[in-house]
């Protein structure tokens, strides 16, 4: 069952075209419409996605604590009340009939941001939750209206942070999952809407469970006494290793430092809590230690159609080293990170910037490479652990084709 746990695939089989099944090109070709009036990410030259990740997973700072507390506090609130602080913020483009019901302005962005504050919650899942809230609060009277509204909401979410692949992918998948259902046809609007909400909740649940599934699936690949190299902070990887430790496996973890966020430090912290022997490396020591590594394990920010992954800067380089030393490279990634992108090379992605602190002032003439992520082509990956199963890179595209066509 687990390998089809994201039931959108099942739904697709009985798919029918009544719902506005978005034509393939509308997803790929038309880059998200410019949406002049949507609330844009304030610091557009800095990737919000990596800001969040840094906030959540970098070495704990007081700042982070404050944020986390704020997030928890907000989370307890009802979603309706959240709209208040950015009252003027509207749902993207529409200004449509979304807030008639509550009489209050409801912003999907705010909703999303409130979910996003939870460190354990993936951004895509936050988006999914936010979109579910859109359905719940929607005052639309017809199915079509609701769908348009949903589309606008997801578009505004996507344009809020174009650098986040999982956000885009999560929104797209949610739209597919929610709107492509046979149940919508025969029922009256209210029951259809409740069905939609149900499905939205279910999808959120599935996404939440994904990590657990992946952790279970991947256990066979780690044997006693193996040495695992990890890079960056990935919640899936942490879950995988945690499960392995719970299963009384004996293994050792090498953690890269993960400059500039130093996410590796935090990751090693987490592992140390589990009593897993862990060793920290600076990022440049990867090749040096590779011969004692048995398995390389990455998370992923996004899994692209070629079967490659987009992940924190440094991943590609580690994969290259591992490949040249014939070490298996595994990637743990939830299926909501599958995105319809096809980068041809490193520069063929929308840039995601991240400020880097070198500790000393950098002369203004010196340029700094601030890109936060890189693309690892599929030929350097061995397997991907996903909640759809353990897949080879080439299957990713097959799954995506089946999903989107």
């Amino acid at each position: 069952m687990w390998w089809r746990s994201a039931s959108f695939i099942l739904d697709r089989q009985q798919h029918q075209n009544r719902t506005v099944a978005p034509s393939p090109e509308s997803f790929l070709l038309s880059s998200p419409p410019p949406m002049a009036d949507s609330p844009l990410n304030p610091k557009s030259n800095i990737s919000a996605y990596y800001q969040t990740r840094a906030a959540h997973h970098a070495v704990v700072t007081t700042d982070w604590l404050a944020q986390a507390q704020a997030a928890v506090g907000r989370h307890s609130d009802d979603d309706g009340s959240l709209g208040g602080d950015k009252g003027a913020a509207r749902i993207g483009g529409g200004g449509g009939g979304e807030e008639e019901g509550s009489g209050k302005a409801f912003s999907v962005i705010d909703e999303f941001n409130s979910w996003r504050k939870q460190p354990a919650l993936a951004e895509a899942v936050a988006a999914i939750r936010a979109l579910a809230a859109v359905i719940r609060t929607s005052g639309a009277a017809t199915m079509m209206e609701l769908e348009i509204e949903l589309k606008k909401a997801s578009d505004s979410l996507k344009s809020w942070d174009t650098t986040s692949i999982s956000l885009t992918a999560g929104c797209d998948l949610f739209m597919l999952y929610v709107t492509r259902t046979s149940a919508l046809e025969y029922e009256d609007f209210n029951s259809a809407k409740s069905r939609l909400i149900e499905r939205a909740e279910k999808f959120g649940e599935i996404s939440c469970k994904a990590r657990r599934i992946i952790a279970m699936l991947s256990q066979d690949f780690f044997f006693d006494g193996c040495t695992i190299l990890v890079h960056g902070f990935s919640r899936v990887v942490l879950e995988v290793l945690k499960t392995a430790a719970e299963n009384k496996k004996h293994f050792r973890v090498l953690c890269t430092e993960g400059r500039p966020d130093r996410t590796g430090l935090r990751f090693s912290n987490e592992l140390a809590k589990l009593d897993v022997p862990v060793k920290l490396l600076i990022d440049s020591a990867v090749a040096y230690t590779m011969d004692e590594v048995d398995v390389v394990l990455f998370g992923a920010d996004g899994v692209v159609e070629s079967g490659g992954i987009i992940n924190m800067m440094g991943t590609f380089q580690i994969a290259l080293v591992a490949h040249s030393m014939n070490k298996p490279v595994y990637v743990a990634a939830e299926s909501y990170k599958f995105a319809r992108h096809y980068p041809l090379d490193q520069k063929d992605m929308s840039p995601a910037r991240r400020p880097i602190d070198f500790g000393v002032p950098i002369p203004s003439k010196v340029e700094v490479e601030t890109s936060a992520r890189d693309y690892t082509p599929p030929q350097y990956l061995t397997l991907l652990f996903t909640d759809l199963g353990v897949l080879t890179p080439s299957v990713i595209s097959d799954e995506l084709i089946q999903l989107y066509l």
Partner: protein, 671 residues
């Protein structure tokens, strides 16, 4: 008979055989197993030359090295000469190809008596490199008499494909005969030695396989010669084996030695003989297996009335299974037949002639033209009495298709379109009236053209344009209409990029593309395929078109595409293949040999507009027989060299082609 020089000599023989055997390793590999298995048991039974064998057998030095039988090399040869007409050259022939026969056989026999197992024993095979086939021949002759000759023919048939190539090699060696004659007589065959030394190094390892190959080659020679002799005994006085010996016993040596002897006599004569032999062999070949299956071959006879098959030319052996190119010379006669009464609908006929003349090229254009012609044919169609539309129209279309195939082999895309049309016809509800059925079909065809070609192209160019950035240098090869559209579209979008158009010789299609691009104001560079590695390092993207994509991701496209893709891969430049999904095919193809299309062979021997480049003109017929021109139209690019395939379903890696094929089939059967 004194051992020392002979040992040298036998060594040489050994080396020579090694060398020969290496030559055609791959080609003959497949035949290896069969032969070996057959050869083994017989080898032991009987020697090669009956007269010699007794003499050799007594030779008691059964120790393997000593049994290299130095004396034999000389003596048996000369002995065996007696049946043959011309002793001195025969000597020679022994040294080269024919020599194998004499030398090893006795040794083989001895070894056969030893505990070693036939020719399968590697060490043995090292020693007696060439023996098995030879001895087999002899034995066959001896024991099986008349039957053996049958076997021969049969085998020679099977050997034919591989054999012509070896013959080339043989000719080369024989060309050296005059010197080698003297050399051999002096027991110090220098030229051979040098030859040997040259190739010696490479030939050291797979001895066993090689021996068999050498043997096989020798066998082929002998068989060919034998056939020639038996067939052309009467008229060919030049053939040394000409003495028509009816006894199978004597025949084999003659046959075997025939060609070499002739060669040694006089090179030119020999060539002539050999050639004629070869020609004959070609003639009695079963007609080469065609690319298209029996169904189409069945109709071949019929069609031949419309279009004459071009005469069998000297064609490259590896590609003989492909239908020969039909050049436009028949065009006038066919044009004159346009108004005659025949089965073909005029629209189809016209398209066929356009294919033949080369006026229509490009997968999409050809496919659309064909579909539109079918559409017209369907409009003008009326079901004959007592026939059903479904059946009759299908066969009618089949007739058209086979006519078109005759004009030019179909591309995969056309095959897919035809399959679509036939499935539509087959699925017509029986309740439809004829006119309704016809309009349904016509609209189906229209929809196919629109959805699968026109719209698909639009989608593709929008996908592909996302991969073009400002400042890019795009390289394209040949003239692909999709790529052209992509470039123009990106230009319209205001992207700043440069285009490198790479072209290659016989077709020079790139110039057409170049002209259209330059007219539209794109900045272009034009170069030939030869210079590809020089331009590649500046290139940031390679856009290629494709004639078809197979389900293993192999891209089947204009010849030269593979080299472009490989060079791009070597330079780490992403290669984008743009191809509509209707061109995908579920076949798996690994090379470009099995299925391909032959172009006009003369096109590559001439350079249009260069009168001074005439090196290949004015060859005599005899000289031309040494010349095999190969003008291939397509090649297969392995999927490793492809970064992405841009189709109407988005950008997919080559590994996902089967998914599209699967989904797509479903869909277009459902349309």
């Amino acid at each position: 008979m004194n051992p020392n020089p002979n040992i040298d000599f036998s060594h040489l023989c050994f080396l020579l055989f090694l060398q020969k055997s290496t030559k055609f390793f791959e080609r003959q590999l497949s035949m290896d197993a069969r032969r070996m298995s057959r050869a083994v048991p017989r080898v032991r039974q009987v020697g090669f030359f009956t007269p010699n064998t007794p003499a050799q057998q007594p030779q008691p030095q059964s120790a393997a090295p000593s049994s290299e039988s130095p004396p034999l090399s000389d003596s048996p040869a000369s002995n065996s000469l007696s049946p043959v007409m011309i002793p001195p050259p025969r000597h020679l022939s022994d040294n080269l190809g024919g020599r194998t026969a004499a030398v090893p056989v006795p040794g083989r026999e001895i070894s056969g008596e030893l505990p070693t197992v036939g020719s399968y024993n590697p060490s043995e095979s090292v020693l007696w490199l060439d023996s098995p086939p030879r001895s087999r021949i002899g034995d066959e002759e001896l024991s099986e008499g008349a039957e053996s000759s049958l076997g021969w023919y049969r085998r020679s048939d099977s050997a034919k494909f591989a054999s012509s190539l070896p013959s080339g090699g043989f000719n080369l060696s024989t060309a050296k005969h005059p010197e080698s004659v003297a050399a051999v007589e002096a027991k110090n065959p220098l030229p051979e030695q040098s030859e040997v030394q040259k190739e010696q190094a490479s030939s050291s390892k797979p001895l066993k396989a090689k021996t068999t190959k050498a043997e096989r080659r020798a066998l082929q020679e002998s068989q060919r010669a034998a056939k020639a002799a038996s067939r052309a005994e009467a008229n060919k006085s030049g053939t040394p084996g000409g003495a028509p010996s009816s006894k199978p016993m004597k025949q084999p040596p003659q046959k075997k030695d025939g060609p070499p002897v002739a060669s040694s006599i006089a090179a030119s004569e020999r060539i002539g003989v050999d050639r004629s032999v070869e020609k004959e062999r070609k003639k009695d070949l079963p007609p080469p297996r065609k690319q298209f299956d029996d169904e189409s071959r069945g109709g071949r006879a019929k069609r031949r009335s419309v279009l004459n098959q071009p005469e069998a030319r000297n064609r490259v052996e590896l590609f003989r299974h492909l239908p020969p190119h039909k050049n436009g010379t028949q065009l006038p006669s066919l044009e004159s037949k346009f108004f005659e009464l025949h089965e073909k609908h005029p629209a189809v006929y016209k398209v066929g002639l356009q294919y033949l003349a080369g006026d229509l090229s490009g997968g999409n254009a050809r496919c659309i033209a064909m579909l539109q012609a079918f559409q017209e044919a369907i409009r003008d169609y009326s079901t004959p009495p007592e026939k059903t539309l479904t059946r009759d129209l299908t066969s009618k279309i089949g007739g058209f298709v086979s006519f078109l195939i005759e004009c030019r082999p179909l591309s995969m895309s056309m095959g897919n379109a035809i399959r679509f049309l036939k499935s539509r016809i087959a699925r017509l509800p029986l309740t439809l009236s004829e006119s309704e059925a016809k309009t349904t079909l016509c609209s189906d065809i229209d929809r196919f053209i629109n959805e699968k070609i026109v719209l698909a192209d639009k989608v593709i160019l929008r996908h592909a344009a996302t991969k073009i950035r400002d400042g890019d240098v795009l390289l394209t090869y040949g003239s692909s209409c999709v790529v052209e559209m992509i470039l123009l579209y990106a230009h319209e979008l205001g992207k700043q990029f440069r285009v490198v158009v790479v072209d290659s010789h016989p077709m020079l299609e790139g110039q057409k593309l170049l002209r259209r691009l330059v007219v539209k104001g794109l900045s272009c560079t034009y170069t030939q395929l030869n210079a590809i590695s020089y331009v590649m390092h500046k290139v940031t993207r390679v856009f290629l078109g494709a004639s078809s994509i197979f389900s293993n991701g192999t891209v089947y496209s204009t010849v030269g595409t593979a080299s472009v893709a490989m060079v791009a891969h070597a330079f780490r430049v992403p290669v984008l293949v743009c191809c509509e999904a209707y061109k995908f095919h579920e076949r798996v193809q690994l090379d470009s040999i099995c299925f391909n299309e032959l172009g006009d062979p003369d096109a590559i021997s001439k350079v249009p507009g260069r009168v001074d480049v005439n090196y290949l003109d004015n060859l005599t017929d005899k000289q031309k027989e040494n010349l095999e021109l190969l003008n291939l139209k397509y090649d297969a690019t392995p999927s490793d060299y492809i970064s992405v395939i841009v189709t109407d379903y988005g950008m997919i890696p080559p590994t996902s082609v089967p998914v599209i094929v699967r989904e797509y089939r479903k869909e277009y059967l459902l349309i």
